[in-house]
């Protein structure tokens, strides 16, 4: 974080990211209108995960932050996923 704020994300990059995000949104909509069964929610979540990765990395400048912060952010997501999975151990085996 020593180079705090010195990094400037170019407009061009931001605009590109927006385009990708929009594309992903339409991808999600079209995917969910097919009937892939249980897969749809997985695909939808994967796409959403990818989108949030982009937002975090570029819009929120995480890509240019210190390694420590990046690790912390990923830990939070991992923690949440683990908690959900553990709760599912209860509910999916009832």
């Amino acid at each position: 974080m020593a180079n705090n704020g010195s990094h400037i994300t170019e407009y061009r990059v931001l605009a590109k990211i927006l385009l990708i995000l929009m594309f992903c949104t339409f991808l999600t909509i079209s995917v969910t209108s097919f009937h892939l069964g249980a897969l749809t929610v997985t695909v939808a979540l994967l796409i959403a995960g990818f989108k949030s990765f982009l937002v975090l990395s570029y819009f929120m400048h995480l890509k240019y932050e210190s390694l420590l912060l990046r690790i912390l952010v990923s830990m939070v997501f991992v923690l949440f996923i683990v908690i959900v999975l553990i709760t599912f151990i209860d509910y999916s085996f009832r």
């Binding site: 400037i8 407009y11 927006l18 909509i29 989108k51 939070v76 599912f88």
Partner: protein, 205 residues
Amino acid sequence: MSEHNTHIEEHRDDEASKLGMWLFIFTELLLFGGLFLVYSIFRLQYPANFHESSLELSVTIGVINTIALLFSSMTIAFAVTAVQKKNNKLALRMIGITLLMALVFLVNKYFEWGHKFEHGLYPGSDLMQLLERGHHLYFSLYFFMTGLHALHIIVGMILLIIVYFKVKNGSIHHEKYVFMENGALYWHLVDLIWIFLFPLLYLIS
């Protein structure tokens, strides 16, 4: 020295404020995390009901709102870049657009909710009590999650309005913009949550 002041003069530590903001975002993520957990458990138990209920929502409104938020997320990032590049005028315009998008989102939400209310579908209504379990849970979650999210939008807007005036009067500028960065981070958080809310509430099959 500090005769007039009970405390050492506030020293400025941008990194500290930014780290603080990130930590705050963590708590917000887990706050919604609890709701997502509830959602996923109930969806696991009532998949069919959730699907049927989601058909009641208008995907079009959802898409418009998604686009509005994604776009606003980009404009606020633009605004930060603009301030870094000493282009305060552009920054102001970008913040303005962001706020406009936020307003679009809220107005949309207002009509969406209003529509449901007209049909007698709101928390605690008689109709809600009559619904099947899965439907009842879906709509409870729908109102709770989108409501909390809308609340965050409003808080975000207030933050951005403050940012707007600070940029305008020059207290945010290319060497001192951590407050703006934090405001923008908060706004992106709002967007981040919507990225998950949208497919989970509107697109269930």
